[in-house]
Symmetry: C2
Subunit: 254 residues, 2 copies
């Protein structure tokens, strides 16, 4: 058995036999929350919202990717529950997590873009966290919309025809976008209240004991010590250059 | 090829070829942060700390489980990077995520308890988030220590000989424990500063844009609307009864 066959078999087995939605997965009739996975994405971008949204009554979260191959995120390996091809056209929520190099690749991946354009055209909500908004943008789904993204990447959103807003969660018509990585929990609770109601969102918040107490005040470029912000900006420069290139290329294809 | 072989092969391939630590995995010489996975755990309990700790210089995060079989968490399926047997004795950080039914099972699983007792005896830090502390407690690793856990489960900690403390992060000698689910991010940053230094922890906080803004004030039993807290307590009663039974059984084995 070669590597590819082994991975595909494992993915298929996991999907068919092991409750891919997890032990709390609910009935097939629920409306679909489609979380798109791709190689190298930032795992907390997806898991923050997933942990919240998987508990919204009447909805079912699925992790959808180009194939059933394991997805190697920035810090763990997971199995998708469904391929792009297997995903129904009717989607309640289309969600994109962000990342760095993997996100830039996804911005130029025709399979990803086609999937987003077809499902995004009819989805009730088109959503993202962190630089996931750059992939939505590359698919043309944020043209003329206000949107959030990671603090480093707001200029790239402009190239994609969107208006960046420096907030944890930005809602513009049916686009709901979150800021960098950890904003996914605030995003998830905000969206949960819209999909269901405020009481259910509060119940989820209590279950997840979401009463944050960051030990430092370094969560934004404005509050972090200047030297730390400077170092972060320098580290992110190559990513931002490649993201801008991918954004320009995407916009030229519209 | 039967199912078991397929999954083991996929796990082995993922571990050997696909950078199980994720695309940011670093050299083998780094000190080990061992994150224990078991069927049914709450995925954000692990992913919050993982996202932080995977970025601490000089350390390497690994997800360790009884076998290489896929782990079905409460809302996604992931592949462990190492088995208990393969895990070295020398561990810098031993970490346990929490959950509900799966956590109670792990409290009584001799393989899990043996692994925790052997690695916990020499680990530099013995840690957990949420009800992960109940598994540490069942292994006898919290006797005489102050510890945090999910708000619902503090009484169970007493049965395990620990003193529960209602804080996001509790440090008692080399035991570092976090409160419910989302406390894992506060826990991760606190531990990152100890393993490395405050500047590196702040750099990670900035990269993850951790400047939380919960849309509601329902994160603790005290701040949530009374009806929501009451409903949550009722829902958790069967879990707490089985956790107390598992705790009594564990304590009787010491």
């Amino acid at each position: 058995m070669n590597r590819r066959t082994a991975l595909q078999t494992a993915g298929a087995v996991a999907a068919a036999s092991l409750l891919p939605g997890g032990v709390n997965a609910v009935e097939e009739k629920s409306k679909l929350i489609v979380m798109v996975a791709y190689q190298g994405f930032t795992v907390l971008d997806l898991v923050g919202p997933l942990q919240v949204l998987s508990r919204v009554p009447g909805y079912r979260t699925v992790i959808v990717a180009e194939s059933r191959d394991p997805i190697v995120t920035d810090c763990l390996t997971l199995l998708p529950s469904m391929t792009f091809e297997e995903c129904p056209q009717e989607v309640a929520v289309l969600f994109l997590p962000g990342g760095l190099t993997g996100t830039v690749k996804a911005m130029s991946d025709p399979e990803v873009i086609k999937f987003l354009q077809t499902r995004g055209a009819t989805a009730e909500y088109v959503t993202s966290v962190c630089t996931g908004s750059l992939i939505l943008g590359a698919a043309g789904l944020l043209r003329g919309y206000k949107a959030a993204t990671h603090w480093s990447s707001r200029e790239v959103l402009k190239t994609l025809g969107a208006t960046p807003v420096a907030e944890r969660v930005v809602i513009d018509r049916n686009r709901v976008t979150g800021g960098g990585v950890t904003a996914g929990i605030d995003f998830g609770l905000t969206l949960a209240a819209r999909l269901s109601n405020e009481a259910n969102a509060q119940g989820i918040q209590l279950a997840l004991e979401y009463d944050p107490a960051p030990p430092f005040h370094a969560g934004t470029p404005e509050t972090a010590p200047a030297a730390i912000t400077e170092r972060a900006r320098k580290r992110l420069t190559p990513f931002l250059e490649s993201a801008q290139q991918a954004a320009q290329a995407a916009a030229s294809r519209w």
